[in-house]
Structure formats: structure tokens, C-alpha cells
């Protein structure tokens, strides 16, 4: 479904991605981890074209992301994305956050959009908050709304960019629960996260990045059992201590 083929990216003279390759099959969950500044977020943002890249090729459902002829808005509408800082639209109610993109991008009629939005808010346990504004919700609740907003577009795949990094510890679990539910329903997911419990539970593969490179890309059990690269071992030993 998603193939990343030898992507390289530079910010001016600084190379931030080096020859990254990976493939995500339909229904697969891939966790991307690595130290900060390793290029995880940049890589995931290349997948829906939020970040341009200079070399290599990314295909999503057979469509080349980097091709200038590609209708990027149309492609992005089919890929859900969840951000570290939620990025709900603060001037719109929770319900409107979910209905506006459906109406403006997919051309759904307002009633259908509303029904879809309400059922998704129900699914993430926030139906009673539909009329509130994002600023009135906790971080965990906002992130669940953001997931629902992405799902409302009926995406073929979901990208998560450190979805729990900006949350207070007690709110992380409620967001992870929603994501685990999604994974178990067969959603294709790329998740940038440090939550190794999540990776163990639902990831098919774990990719480890360092200094802009994908150093290791292994099935979950192998990655936690016997990581081959020294850098991944070091990273795991640091992150699994607590």
C-alpha cells in the first residue's frame, strides 16, 4: 500500500534523510522509533507530501507522491494524519472540526457528515463533547477528536506523528487505546512513537531510525528480542528502563 523507495532529503546543505526505504502492506502496523532529530517525523510527513523530498520515490496506493502532476490534496484526503500537537481547529466546535473537511473536501452532504462525525465521536468516547470547542477539552480528549477527524475522511491509511508526546502521562493510555482498537480493526498505520508497549502490542514491524537513516526494520518480536544494530540496542536499553 505504501512504498518508500530510497528517499533522501536536504534542508539546505544539511541532509536529514538518507536513502530511506520501507514498505507497508495493507492492514500492517509499522512503528517508527529512534532518538529525537533522527528524521522520523520528517519521513512520515513525506508520505503525504507535507514535506517535499529531493531524491527517491514514495507511492501510496499506486500514486507517486513526489510527482508534480499528482493531485496532492486529493491524495492527502485519503491518508489520515494525527499530529503531536493535535492541531484541532480552535475556532470550530468539535463537531464542526469533523464535519467541515468531509463537506468541503469530500463533498458529503451536511447530514451525512454529521451522522458520520457523531458515530466516530461515539467510538472515541467523546460524543457528549460534540458542541464544545477544542480548548475546553483535555489533551487526551483533543487527540482522540483529532483521530476521529482523520477517520471521518474514510482514510486508506493513517499516519501518527508522535501522537502521545505532548500529553500528560495519565492521558497517554486513552489515546493508545483508541489506536490499538484501530490497529485491531485492520487499519494500515505508520506510527512514530516512543511507546514501546504499543509497539509490542500491535505493531507488525518496528523501524529504528538514527541520523536520517533507517538503521533497522524488523518484525516486532525480532526487534525487541535481538536487535541487530548496536545503535538500536543502545536506544532500546535507554528507553525500556522506565
Amino acid at each position: 500500500m505504501i512504498t518508500i523507495d530510497a528517499i533522501s532529503k536536504w534542508y539546505g546543505p544539511t541532509q536529514v534523510l538518507r536513502d530511506c526505504s520501507a514498505a507497508v502492506a495493507k492492514g500492517e502496523v509499522v512503528v517508527v522509533c529512534g532518538p529525537s532529530g533522527s528524521g522520523k517525523s520528517t519521513l512520515i510527513k513525506c508520505v503525504n507530501g507535507l514535506e517535499p523530498f529531493q531524491k527517491g520515490r514514495i507511492d501510496v496506493d499506486g500514486i507517486s507522491v513526489g510527482d508534480p502532476k499528482t493531485d496532492l490534496p486529493k491524495l492527502r484526503a485519503r491518508i489520515g494524519m494525527v499530529f503531536q500537537h493535535f492541531e484541532l481547529f480552535p475556532h470550530l466546535s468539535v463537531l464542526r472540526n469533523l464535519t467541515l473537511p468531509q463537506i468541503k473536501v469530500l463533498g458529503r452532504n451536511p447530514d451525512a457528515a454529521r451522522d458520520k462525525a457523531v458515530s466516530l465521536l461515539d467510538r472515541v468516547g467523546l460524543r457528549v463533547h460534540a458542541e464544545k470547542f477544542p480548548g475546553q477539552l483535555s489533551g487526551g480528549q483533543q487527540q482522540r477528536v483529532a483521530i476521529a477527524r482523520a477517520l471521518a475522511m474514510d482514510p486508506i491509511a493513517m499516519l501518527f506523528d508522535e501522537p502521545t508526546s505532548a500529553l500528560d502521562p495519565e492521558m497517554i493510555q486513552e489515546v493508545l487505546d483508541v489506536m490499538v482498537g484501530l490497529a485491531k480493526d485492520g487499519m494500515t498505520m505508520i506510527v512514530v512513537t516512543h511507546e514501546m508497549s504499543f509497539a509490542r502490542k500491535v505493531a507488525n514491524r518496528v523501524a529504528f531510525m538514527d541520523k536520517g537513516e533507517i538503521v533497522e526494520d524488523a518484525p516486532t518480536a525480532d526487534f525487541f528480542g535481538k536487535p541487530r544494530s548496536e545503535r538500536a540496542q543502545l536506544f532500546l536499553s535507554k528507553i525500556l528502563q522506565h
Binding site: 492527502r76 494524519m81 492541531e87 481547529f89 473537511p101 468541503k104 469530500l106 470547542f133 475522511m153
Partner: protein
Amino acid sequence: MFVNFDFDVIWRSLPYLFYRGMTFTLLLTALATAGGIVIGTLLALMRLSGTTALTVAAAAYVNLMRSVPFVLMIFWFYFLVPYIGQWVTRSAQPIQVGAFASCLITFTLFEAAFFCEIMRAGIQSISRGQVAAAQALGMTYPTVMGYIVLPQAFRNMVPVLLTQTIILFQDTSLVYVISVTDFLGAASKVAERDGRLVEMYTFAAAVYFIISLVASRAVAHLQRRVAIIR
């Protein structure tokens, strides 16, 4: 000390001052603000477009407007607009646009430069993440701007926009240079006709003061009402 003053002149000229003068002043303020915000927002979008030609054109316009004295602009436009109209419509005579239309065009174009800078600051106050989120949902540039960025930018900037409008309200008195009867012009005419300069100018100053004060109080109140919950 007021023995020699005749404040009754104010009372007698009230209908003229307000129906004729204040109507002109308020209408000019309202229309120039509306037009200025629309054109100013478009200029701001041009300045932030990332396309060199549009950026340079908008920046040049703004800088030109801000570096010419406003009175000169009013004066100049009043004499120039008929000829531009003539050129555009290819008619034999200069087009008679009238003082009000001429003032309206001048004020709108002039205010557009200021509203451009205000809206530019407003747009830049919206985080990159908001734009990224809107784009990630598949929104095109017009949708991102129209539904996500501009509504938030506009709300953030409402106090500044209205403060600029209050300044504009006071600046409308500059139309005296082309002998238009705005509120101050009306007061001035009565003052000179009846020889009651002190009374009329004092009254006019009081009216401008009260309206501006009430308006800025209203802005402060509105500021609390429209603030986005964060």
C-alpha cells in the same frame, strides 16, 4: 466666562451637522473599512504567496501608500480619478465621479495598505501546524485560507482592525481639503457663517471624542467576546 458664547448655535444647526455631515463621515468610514479589509486581505495573501511577482507588487503598493502624505493622496485622487475614468471608459470628457466617490476610492485604497499589514500579521500568527493539519485533510489552498487560516487570523486581529477603523473615522475629516461637507466640514461652515468658531469647534471636538471613546470601549468589550477559547 461663557457670557459671550452662544451655544444655541449648536442646537440650531444640529440637523445639518448630523444629517448632512455625520452621515457622510460614518458612511465613508464604514464603506472604506469594508473595502479596505477586503482589498487589504487580498494584498496580504499576495505578500505571503511566495510568488515573487505578487509579493513584490503588494509590498510596493503598501510601501507607496504609506510613504505619501494622506492629504496629498486625497487631493491628488480628486483631480486624477476623472481622468483615469476617462481613460478606462475611453470617453471624450473626464468622468464626473463626485466628491464622495473620489473620497471613497482614496480612503479604501489607502486603508487597504494598513489593513494588509494587519491581516499579514494575523495570518502569520496562525501556526504552521494548523495549515499542515488542514492540508493533511486534503483541503486546497482556498479552503485552507477561507475556512481555517483567515477566520482565525481575522478574529485575532479584530481589536487592531477596529482600532484602525477608529483612526480612519478621525481621518475622514481630512476631506476638508477638497471642500467636502463631512461632520467637521459642516461644523466649520456653520462656524464661519455665524462667527461662532469656538463654540462649533469645541462641539465638534467633543463629538469626535465621545464617539471614539465609546467605540474603543466597545472594541475592548468585543475583544473579550470574540476571543477563541484556547
